[in-house]
């Protein structure tokens, strides 16, 4: 469903989860729940945080919208623009580059016809470069949703893309 027309509200189940998280913190400190709630919100609403979604979260936590923007804009794991169903996060830090991350990245760029930060026209893939994923022994590494794909080669990457196309689900962090 298109985000613009969809009502921004958690399902009862998600809402219970959110209240459980808020409940972990003392009265008046609901803001502490912001990061986990944002993750849930991102997973729930098409894998990105629109201003409307962030305002909704602000409302749930009883804080100012700008306090949510401040946090959401700080972390690269929050997408502030619409993204594809699969966000391909390729590590571009030294160790991965030494074992072929650059090659992997340029392969993906050619294959998908997009640059980092862009999304394929069919809305399937977004390419994103990220800093160290802390799996340096297993480079090149790419994170998609909550899963790490390690020791990647262009061939393995192609297989993955195929697999994602078949699955055709949204990959989220939670």
């Amino acid at each position: 469903m298109d985000i613009d027309t969809r009502e921004i509200r958690f399902s009862a189940e998600r809402l219970a989860e959110v209240y459980e998280i808020i409940g972990r913190y003392p009265e008046g400190r609901q803001k502490s729940a912001l990061l986990p709630v944002l993750h849930i919100a991102q997973a729930e609403f098409d894998n990105w945080l629109s201003p409307e979604v962030m305002d909704y979260v602000a409302d749930l936590l009883g804080i100012q919208p700008i306090e949510v923007y401040e946090v959401a804009s700080f972390y690269t794991m929050f997408n502030l623009k619409p993204v594809g169903k699969y966000v391909l996060e390729v590590c571009r830090t030294g160790p991965c580059c030494l074992v072929g991350a650059e090659k992997l990245q340029s392969h993906l760029e050619t294959k998908l016809g997009i640059k980092p930060g862009e999304t394929t026209p069919d809305g399937m893939f977004t390419l994103k470069t990220v800093e160290c994923l802390a799996a340096c022994g297993f480079g090149p590494v790419m994170q998609v949703g909550a899963t790490y794909y390690e020791r990647l080669t262009p061939e393995k990457a192609d297989e993955l893309l195929e697999q994602f196309r078949k699955e055709n689900k949204r990959a989220t962090y939670c």
């Binding site: 008046g28 400190r29 201003p51 100012q64 700008i66 923007y69 401040e70 804009s73 700080f74 690269t76």
Partner: protein, 902 residues
């Protein structure tokens, strides 16, 4: 005291400070960005690095951030160490990589801390050859410009706006090299202290938008030490002029009054001085030929001599001007141009402060209060600067406790803020409606003024049984009064705040009772009572009759010639009364600055100087006498009211003012003849004060264009005006060092062109100015004696059918007469509507925006209503002083016209 070795030389410094403060206080030029004397350290910018050595043997040392290290006895540091010097130069170079180097078109240029620090560290060659990061700027409303490309990411703006001033609509967004300081979207910065960003931000990101309308560099303006006329807080300001136009107001540090900060009404409310509505010419009805001073004086004097005269003084005119009028008309014929209710409230306040046992607080005393009770006052709208002080006060207690427990110095701002979270010292706010200070309060109650006073008296009774017990309190009220009394009794430095805001004498009296009861039980308590205008206190201290009596005097033919000093009577009494008064008066002579309704009716209009064109003394609500000085000599006949009145007296053959000519004469005469003003002659140096035979220069030594700026009028340079009233000169000739604190025209020191040069004017950074903070408190409580409490039995607030108890509501942007001439301030003015409880409106079948028709004092009115769920029933508020709101001498009962239901 500790011994600190700086580059091997020993210095005696205060323990507990940080190294940066210590070095700056000793006069070293150590660059910094993120540290601010009022806001402490966060160690964000890395600009203040010095070398620290373990001991004498240690030759390598290590780099430390001087703002983050406490002073330790026998510590050894180096500012000149090559590695430290190189590090600081490197930091600036990094900060500047993304900076656009656009000083030539930047409003900060010439008063820019970033420029100063760049020069200080010696970064003068640009090596960065790549693209710069750029941002989109925001429209932040009428007060501030936003130019994010100039940002060096010191975080000062957020630390001031959000942490210090409690703003909710500015934040840091993004990370690493693309952090953005702004709002979530374009729009007005809402916080009432937003203008301070222009001074707090060390670069040209946040600059004064009103200055941009008529931009001039700091070095090209004439400056003078002045006082804000926006309310009775008495904030010290610097007024700056060029080409006969007032161009900027900035804050002038006074540790006892306003510290580093002023509110937006004070900073941006100055534009009336340049406005089209100014009275600049002499006007005599029916005699357009009278344009010059002498013929005016002759004509006016003839009219004054002709009949019996009365004078109406003003709470917004200086002590000198009110004094001159009182002398001219005689004490018996001197009336106060204030609403009668206000007259009573201010006189009561003065009596409480003079005859009571409790002192008014200075700014540091407000900030260090450890339990606060506010009765009836909507402070952001009646005494704005105080709210900023209270915000610091409520953090202070928890901060100090933590600091002691965790052994973290208080200036470690981020650590302390993080640790105390939302903890607050107790602040109780009992007001008629929801107010800004509620966000600081441990408990807020909304009650009618009658009930506020009952609660106040009940608290006083709980503290001291000698206070009459109040009957018929509700259970909730009883519980809260007991709790509040207990908390106040536990505190060491309680502060009670009340004032004119609720329009109720009983509320003020109840605040006095609470303060006196606390004092009696041995507390070091303070009592702050707000008064409305910049010289309300001075006028009350001077004495005089109420306005009503002036109206009577004319109505009964006891007087027929009226001299009105700086006043629009239509803001002081109901229209019909003023109409009648002015019609019945044979001659109406008005001295004022801006045209208004009274001016329309006056026969003789005399152009009076504004604070920018006049010298004078004001008494703030604290009871502090302070002096303001003229910035420039206006063209035409405009001059100080006291000077006009002196000349008028002479022209009338009235000799009482003959011996007074310059400001000093007036000041001395007032001090000599009115014992209540004794001491005002000492608040600033006299006009013959010189430093090395020099006057103090109002213009920076770089002031340019002096020989050319009037070439289109006259090619040869005009003789600059001389100033016989003050020790200041109107030119760049004169003393440029640090003068006595009361006559500092602007802050500047070699290498320090921005406002940060204040450091050099203080005995130690953050502390008082050299020579002591300016001003002198005139009201101190008498010797300790047992107070006579006010409390008496009074019934709870009655809700009357078909009636509404209407009380005045004030607006920081909108109520004050002059500041609304600034378009920016006017645009922030609230709607002219009566606010009532939702339930009341429902019962009348009215909704938001509907018109309420009512009668008050025999007059019919019709105004739109707004509803609010939190208002007590039976009561409403009227935003007074606003355009479109007729004057009513509130509070009072209004009778509602039956609503016709369709």
């Amino acid at each position: 005291m500790a011994t600190l070795f700086i580059d091997n030389a020993p210095y005696q410094v205060k323990e507990g400070k940080n190294l940066l403060e210590a070095c700056l206080s000793l006069g070293f030029d150590l660059p910094y960005f993120c540290w601010h004397p009022a806001m402490g350290s966060v160690g964000a910018c890395r600009q203040c690095a010095v070398k620290s050595f373990r001991d004498e043997e240690d030759t390598r040392g290590k780099l430390v951030m001087s703002c983050m290290e406490p002073v330790r006895d026998q510590a050894r540091i180096s500012i000149q160490d090559a590695e430290a010097v190189g590090f600081r130069a490197g930091i600036i170079e990094w900060l500047m990589t993304n900076h656009p180097h656009d000083c030539a078109v930047c409003d900060e240029g010439g008063s820019c801390h970033l420029q100063d620090m760049t020069v200080m560290t010696g970064h003068n060659y640009r090596r960065f050859r790549f693209n710069k990061r750029t941002y989109r700027n925001q429209d932040l409303g009428p007060f501030l410009n936003h130019e994010m490309n100039r940002c060096i990411h010191c975080y000062r703006c957020i630390r001031f706006y959000k942490d210090y001033a409690g703003g909710k609509d500015l934040d840091a967004m993004g990370a690493h090299n693309h952090v953005y300081f702004g709002r979530s979207e374009d729009g007005v910065l809402e916080n009432e202290f937003s203008g301070n960003l222009a001074e707090v931000c060390p670069t040209g990101v946040f600059t004064d938008k009103s200055l941009k309308q008529h931009y001039t560099r700091k070095w090209d303006m004439t400056h003078a030490p002045s006082l804000c006329q926006g309310c009775a807080m008495g904030c010290n300001i610097i007024a700056s002029e060029r080409y006969g136009e007032l161009r900027q107001i900035s804050s002038r540090f006074n540790g006892e009054v306003n510290g580093y900060f002023i509110c937006d009404r004070g900073r941006f409310g100055y534009e009336f001085v340049n406005s089209e509505d100014r009275i600049r010419e002499i006007g005599v009805k029916g005699k357009p030929e009278i344009k010059d001073r002498d013929s005016l004086l002759r004509t006016a004097a003839a009219r004054i001599r002709e009949g019996s005269v009365l004078g109406i003084g003003s709470p917004r005119a200086s002590l000198e001007s009110n004094f001159a009028l009182r002398k001219l008309v005689g004490e018996d014929n001197f009336y106060h141009g204030v609403a009668d209710t206000e007259f009573d409230l201010v006189n009561l306040t003065l009596r409480i402060l003079k005859e009571g046992t409790v002192r008014t607080p200075t700014l540091p005393e407000i900030e260090s209060a450890d339990a606060i009770l506010i009765l009836g006052e909507d402070l952001i709208n009646t005494a704005p600067r105080m709210v900023l002080a209270l915000r610091q006060a409520v953090r202070r207690g928890p901060g100090e406790a933590l600091s002691a427990r965790m052994n973290v110095p208080l200036w470690q701002d981020a650590a302390i803020r993080q640790a105390i979270q939302q903890d607050k010292a107790p602040l109780f706010s009992i007001t008629p409606y929801p107010v800004r200070q509620d966000e600081l309060a441990t408990k807020s109650l909304y009650e009618s003024p009658d009930d506020i006073s009952r609660i106040g008296f009940a608290i006083a009774h709980a503290i001291d049984p000698d206070v009459t017990e109040i009957k018929r309190l509700s259970d909730e009220e009883r519980m809260w009064t007991a709790h509040m009394a207990a908390v106040l009794l536990r505190a060491e430095r309680p502060l009670i705040i009340s004032g004119y805001g609720a329009g109720s004498e009983a509320v003020i009296k109840s605040a006095a009772d609470v303060a006196w009861a606390l004092k009696k039980s041995g507390k070091d308590v303070r009592l702050s009572l707000t008064v409305p205008e910049c010289n309300s206190m001075g006028l009350a201290m001077m004495g005089g009759h109420r306005l009503e009596s002036a109206l009577d005097a004319v109505a009964h033919g006891h007087a027929d010639t009226v001299i009105i000093l700086e006043n629009d009577l239509y803001r002081r009494a109901e229209k019909t009364l003023v109409d009648e008064f002015l019609q019945k008066s044979r001659h109406v002579i008005l001295l004022d600055q801006v045209y208004h309704q009274t001016a329309e009716e006056a026969d003789v209009i005399i152009p009076a100087g504004t604070f920018a064109e006049a010298d004078g003394t004001l008494i703030s609500g604290e009871g502090r006498a302070q002096r303001f000085y003229q910035v420039f000599v206006p063209d035409g006949p405009v001059q100080e009211s006291w000077r006009w009145l002196q000349q008028l007296a002479e022209a009338c053959g009235n000799r009482t003012l003959s011996h007074l000519r310059i400001l000093d004469d007036f000041v001395l005469e007032i001090a000599k003849t009115c014992p209540q003003f004794e001491g005002i002659e000492h608040i600033a140096p006299p006009s013959d004060f010189r430093i090395g035979a020099q006057k103090i220069a109002r213009q920076p030594h770089r002031y340019s264009g002096r020989t050319a700026k009037e070439a289109h009028i006259q090619v040869s340079e005009r003789k600059p005006p001389s100033d016989e009233d003050s020790p200041l000169s109107f030119t760049m000739e004169g003393y440029h060092g640090i003068p006595p604190s009361a006559v500092v025209p602007f802050f500047w020191a070699p290498g320090w062109n921005s406002i940060q040069s204040i450091n050099k004017y203080q005995i130690e950074v953050g502390g008082p100015l050299h020579d002591g903070d300016p001003g002198r408190r005139l009201i101190e409580p008498g010797d300790a004696h047992t107070p006579v409490f006010f409390a008496e039995q009074a019934a709870p607030f009655p809700i009357r059918p078909d009636c509404l108890y209407l009380i005045p509501q004030y607006a920081i942007f909108g109520t004050e007469e002059f500041s609304v001439h600034s378009p920016g301030i006017a645009s922030r003015s609230p709607a002219a509507a009566i606010t009532v409880a939702r339930a009341d409106a429902d019962s009348w079948g009215l909704r938001d925006g509907d018109l309420l028709e009512f009668q008050f004092n025999g007059q019919e009115y019709k105004l739109a209503i707004q509803t609010n769920q939190q208002y007590p029933r039976g009561m409403g508020t009227l935003p007074i002083g606003l355009k479109g709101v007729p004057f009513m001498d509130l509070p009072g009962w209004i009778r509602l016209k039956p609503v016709e239901r369709s």
